[in-house]
């Protein structure tokens, strides 16, 4: 059990800064996610915590220890990779027991101890009946669980998982997400998990840190990240289909004590909450974002709505995803399956006044949080 603190941690590869002064606080027994696209610096961050790469600036603490220069073996962290690297000639039992039989722990555990520990881990991973099998007799998800078991048996202070389920197929990933989240709760081990998959992070995390190009963009619980993205990068990276951004820029218009959003060629009603946030804004131009699920499509004329042309309709499960051509932009809209329309049809587009995301067009920061 331990918390992990990064204070302006920096990793450089030659001239390239992979991790740029990232500060994070992962609390004791928390399930902490580092989310970002490939090349964001996720794995480099994890490797610095594990001690598998040097720290080129800042500090890393595990519990109350500064670990910058501590050998990996002395940090009491366990790392599980996407490639499970099981020993093919050993049974599941022996694979899981392997770390307890390592030379540095020679004779530390009796055979009885080892059996009890393996059994406990295997029960938690719900693979007690697989202990006698060889790795070749296991499915991808089962192999992944053995690899996790081998990491868990050491009872590490901190558990590091580097995209552990990225290579599994969609269905298995769905099951493993639930399994891993449940397991982490039961073990209560502080865990740091990297992933490029926003759905994985939203689903499983207590706290998410979004990073891109080595820079930390936002840290917070999943729904805060989703509902109140700190900048336009987080907004477009989290959510599927991704947030729409309008090409025309918005401006803050104040008239007779009333604040509204000015937008070339289009009108958007905004809620009192957003008006209040804009009232004190010094920002000159705004980038306007709208989530596909916050747009309603309708037939016929209405007040205030926009008109758009159906460019394409796709079925996703029991929903329709429309791509609408509006004022030169392509907007994606999520609609119920029973709302259907043909390509080329003109539809009214209604927005929710409280579901408009506004970002400083220059630095990308949200003007609403």
């Amino acid at each position: 059990m331990a918390e992990v603190l990064l204070d302006r941690a920096t990793k450089k590869y030659g001239d390239h800064v992979a991790v740029n002064e990232v500060s994070l606080h992962c609390k004791d027994s928390e399930f902490f996610f580092i989310l970002g696209p490939s090349g964001a610096g996720k794995t480099s961050t994890l490797k610095m915590i594990a001690g598998l790469t040097t720290v080129d600036g800042g500090q890393i603490r595990i519990g109350d220890r500064l670990v910058n220069d501590l050998e990996p073996g002395l940090r009491n962290v366990a790392m599980a990779f996407e490639a499970y690297a099981l020993y093919p000639h050993l049974t599941v039992f022996e694979n899981i027991a392997f770390p307890l039989r390592a030379p540095i722990r020679a004779r530390q555990f009796s055979e009885g101890d080892i059996h009890a520990r393996v059994q406990r881990v295997a029960d938690l991973l719900r693979m007690g009946e697989l202990l006698g099998r060889m790795p070749t007799q296991l499915s991808g998800g089962q192999k992944q669980r053995v690899a996790l078991g081998r990491a868990l048996i050491r009872e590490p202070d901190v558990f590091l998982l580097d995209e552990p389920i990225a290579h599994l197929d969609a269905k298995l990933r769905h099951h493993m997400r639930a399994e891993l989240k449940s397991m982490q709760r039961q073990f209560g081990t502080t865990s740091i998990y990297t992933t490029p998959d926003q759905l994985e992070a939203l689903s499983m995390a207590d706290t998410i840190a979004v990073i891109n190009e080595g820079v930390l963009h936002q840290v917070g619980p999943p729904l805060e990240i989703y509902n109140h993205p700190a900048d336009d990068f987080v907004a477009q990276f989290v959510g599927d289909p991704p947030m729409n951004f309008l090409s025309s820029r918005g401006v803050v218009v104040s008239e007779g004590g009333e604040v509204r959003l000015g937008l070339e060629g289009l009108h958007i009603d905004i809620s009192p909450r957003i008006q209040a946030a804009l009232a004190g804004q010094s920002c000159q131009t705004l980038r306007v974002g709208i989530r596909p699920s916050d747009i309603r499509l309708a037939r016929g004329q209405g007040s205030g709505g926009w008109l758009g042309e159906v460019y394409l309709v796709e079925q996703v499960g029991r929903s329709h995803v429309f791509t609408m051509k509006v004022n030169g932009d392509m907007l994606r809209v999520k609609a119920p399956l029973d709302f259907d329309a043909g390509v080329g049809e003109r539809l009214r587009i209604d927005l929710e006044p409280d579901k408009v995301y506004l970002f400083d067009a220059v630095n990308g920061r949200s003007v609403l949080v």
Binding site: H174, R177, S182, R185, E314
Partner: protein, 366 residues
Amino acid sequence: MADVRLEKVWKTYGGVVEAVRELDLECRNKEFLCLLGPSGCGKSSTLRMIAGLENVTKGEVYIGSRRVTSVPPKDRDIAMVFENYALYPHLTVYDNIAMPLRVRNMSRSEMDQKVRHAAEVLHITDLLGRRVVRLGGGQKQRVGIGRAIVRKPSVFLMDEPISHLEAQLRAQMRVELKRLHIEVEATTIYVTHDQLEAMALADRIAVMNEGELQQVGTPSELFDRPVNQFVAGFIGTPPMNFLACELAVQGDQMFAQGPGFRISLPAATRARLLSSKASGKMQLGVRPLDVTVAKTNGAETPVAARTFVYEPQGESCQVTVQIDGQLVSIEADGDFVTEAGEAAWVGFKADRLHLFDSATGANLVL
């Protein structure tokens, strides 16, 4: 423009491995048909037989009214787009697209017009002068498709053309491909293992498994009326829940019951099960969207459960509950909040239930 028909087509390798077994399939004129299935299901072998890149072991292939079973690929009037685009890396985009036309000795102005039209449809006009080595993955794929379009083939064949692209680009290319089909109106047969892609693109989907055709239908038909447990489990994410159950009759009521649950079946389902004399062990199938969850017991939510995992996902959430030890996943609104260990009450939308024969996998309520 043409339809494509396969009649009792077999493909065996080395006389032993039956890759495709007695396949009857029709792709209608101007239709977008997806061949969908896991790896090894026979979908690529099928496409390659249509293209003429593989011999047909037994059966016949027709394109339009013409039997093409023994016609060489180049004479079938088809164009094939692969995942690896096989472009000429040191030629420009223009020259790559023009390549099939140059071989035909077409006039320069006619060729130019065709190349520019294809580029326009694919939104790559501003890339025409660029060399292929300098393009990104999505751009290369467009060039590969452009080269196929200029030939004006009767049939387009595509084998996983976008499966290697990263998620957001793939979603964007999906839109472009479907839009392209609407504009070019060419009969298209498209192979994929990704059910989401097939659902989004296809007019109709043919689901295959282990060399056999399982079902052909529109995306909605496959989603809501799967003929068997394989199709039911393969289509849709998160996947359908399956729970072992048996039928019980009490008065004029019929129930599907298993450990921890007993669900009254609607009259239409009951009638169908009675007429087919269904009995014995079954699998109850229900999509996560068709399970209701609440914090209290009620008419809609009569089954006692316990939350195993709660996963927020923004506008919706995923709740995995345990019903007498069995895991059931539920897709609920984003504002439903619970946590692991909490009591939950669930209900199954009776008109959305499926019952599959445990032995054959057949859907008994269709």
